[in-house]
Amino acid sequence: MSSNGGVIHDIGFRHYDGPRLGRGYLIRSLYVESLRGCYGLGRSAKSKIMPFLLLTVLVAPAVIIAVVAGVTSMKKLPVDYVGYMFALESAIAIFLAAQAPATVSRDLRFRVMPLYLSRPLSRNDYVAAKYGAMSTALFILIAVPQTVLFIGALLAKMSFWPNAKDWAAGLLGALLLSLVLAGIGLLIASITPRRGFGVAAVITVLLLLSLVSGALASLADINGHPDLAGYFALLNPVSLVQGVLHWLVDADVSYPQPPPGTTGGLVFTAAMFVVIAGCYTLLLARYRKVSAS
């Protein structure tokens, strides 16, 4: 070695005979690192801009609503917890489009995969950790403003139980939407090592699905097929989750028709689980093909 600073005292190489933890620890470590990465923590300053900007976009209105509610002593919040999440769905979609490639495309682009695979971590462990990290990042993004609203409601001395119940419904919605969107986003981003392509592809797919399903639902509704109009909401992952929440916690839907009755609710719920499981399975299949070199 040539770059001897002159002041660094070499105490020699020390061997390690402490514990070497197993796969569970590896998955947890990768999960934590990826979750931090979703918010640009432990990355360059530039990587932090986008996620924190979007987090601000989601939290700021909630803070304003909470303050206004407190100052004007409202009896009830002007928005409900589930409705707030869907009102800002585009910001959530942008977060997904920006951070899904940062979570998986990055490892393909910089060819970090061989380093993971040359360690005891398996391909399936990798998928589990990444899916968990992306879902958690989305959940934090959605749940933080909901919690701000809830705290605001309590500070404004609104009644506790109705708010707590709605807040819990909101968190359930946040969880379901996170799982669905994370699956779709990661699946698309895992195909390309290019970050830019990943961002564009995720946005395009979400936008197209929303446009097509919205247009079809409106057409069906105008032409007198309300049930069909309800089912067209299945095509859009966001309205899919909205439909499930309508059935489960009586949330408002932004589509002309909600899922028809119990059958509709069951169909939407089943479809949602198929999407989550399907994305996960396809991700596993995708990562079986990723080269170890």
Binding site: G22, R43, S44, F110
Partner: protein, 353 residues
């Protein structure tokens, strides 16, 4: 045995990457040499248990690659040939993460990350994003992530790739240090035989997926019976004089090689140099060079022809020129003109026995 390979074959469809390799190596610094595409990277992937062998098998640290893949991967460190560093992360963050991915608890991972980066020679720059690193720094980080969990063995794929001569020497010195001082055995691949002979205890040569040689470098590069002499002037006169004194003389560029019979050979050489009054720059026992393993064995597989040629051709020219010079000296044999002895350098200083 650190690595033992038994009749190992790997085919990708119609392409045979490895063809019936069998060898076994003791722990130490081991070089795996071959041209690009000789099957070195395939071999490493099989040893890591990431790629199944088509036929045959291999054992790493007495573990079977086919069944004990996860255990092997916990105990070895792997440095790939290609870039594998995320540009938006600092070396510290990255190596810390990789240490945890090898199962080290957070505190131990932090400590060992700092230690390891220092050992590979990364100081202040380790807090900067790796996107701005030079190739030399990147190679050091790649080595650090393989070394951080104190592996039982290192698999290093072309660690000197892309480095300038100075960086190459530093990397080789570092590898030698890891192998001897740190006591971590390793398998190092390279397409350059010359650089591996400096650091390796054992060399495995593959070409076109076949085994050419598996030898200890000590065998090959042990001191030979050749004495190399370098003087500041009148090389030809010295050659003639030594020939006249009864030594077997071969010119070798600006040096002269004489066959070492016994200790009296040294005396004859020194006396002759003093008589001629020339300055003696060097007097040393030649070591064999690894390149000779290619020339030494004429029964090499025809697949090895290109390797043999690339090493052998310049030597062929040199040898015929040498033979010519030798004849000239023999014909004009006679004592060189005596002159005043002067001592550019004390002859004994260059003397190595």
């Amino acid at each position: 045995m650190m690595i033992s390979v038994e009749n190992l074959t790997k085919r990708y469809g119609a392409v045979t990457a490895l063809d019936g390799l069998t060898f076994a190596i003791e722990p130490g610094v081991v070089g795996l040499v071959g041209a690009n595409g000789a099957g070195k990277s395939t071999m490493i992937k099989i040893l890591l248990g990431l790629l199944p062998a088509t036929t045959g098998g291999a054992r790493v640290l007495d573990l079977d690659v086919a069944t004990d893949g996860p255990t092997i991967r916990q105990r070895v460190g792997y440095m790939p040939e290609h870039d594998c560093l995320p540009a938006d992360m600092s070396a510290t963050e990255f190596v810390l993460h990789m240490a945890r991915m090898s199962g080290l608890p957070l505190t131990a991972a932090r400590e060992r990350t700092a230690d390891t980066l220092r050992h590979v020679g990364l100081y202040e720059e380790r807090y900067r994003s790796m996107g701005g690193y030079s190739t030399g720094m990147k190679q050091r980080v790649k080595l650090a992530q393989a070394l951080v969990h104190d592996p039982g063995m290192l698999l290093l794929d072309e660690p000197t790739n892309g480095l300038d001569p100075a960086g190459r020497d530093q990397m080789l010195a570092l590898l030698r240090r890891i192998g001897t001082e740190f006591g971590i055995p390793m398998l190092v691949t390279s397409h350059l035989l010359g650089e591996l002979e400096q650091v390796c205890d054992h060399i495995v040569v593959v070409d076109g997926g076949r085994l050419l040689r598996s030898t200890s470098t000590a065998d090959v590069t042990s001191a030979s019976r050749i004495l190399a002499i370098e003087v500041n002037e009148r090389v030809d006169d010295l050659g003639r004089a030594l020939h006249a004194a009864g030594l077997s003389v071969h010119p070798a560029g600006r040096q002269i090689e004489v066959e070492l019979v016994d200790d009296s050979t040294y005396d004859i050489v020194l006396d002759t140099v003093v008589q001629l009054g020339v300055g003696l720059h060097r007097l040393e026992r030649r070591r064999h060079r690894m390149a000779e393993i290619f020339r030494a064995d004429p029964t090499l597989d025809p697949n090895g022809q290109n390797l043999q040629d690339s090493q052998g051709a310049p030597n062929g020219v040199a040898q015929s020129a040498a033979a010519e010079l030798q004849q000239r000296w023999a014909s004009t044999a006679g004592p060189g003109a005596p002159g005043t002895p002067h001592h550019d350098q004390r002859p004994d200083e260059g003397r190595q026995r």
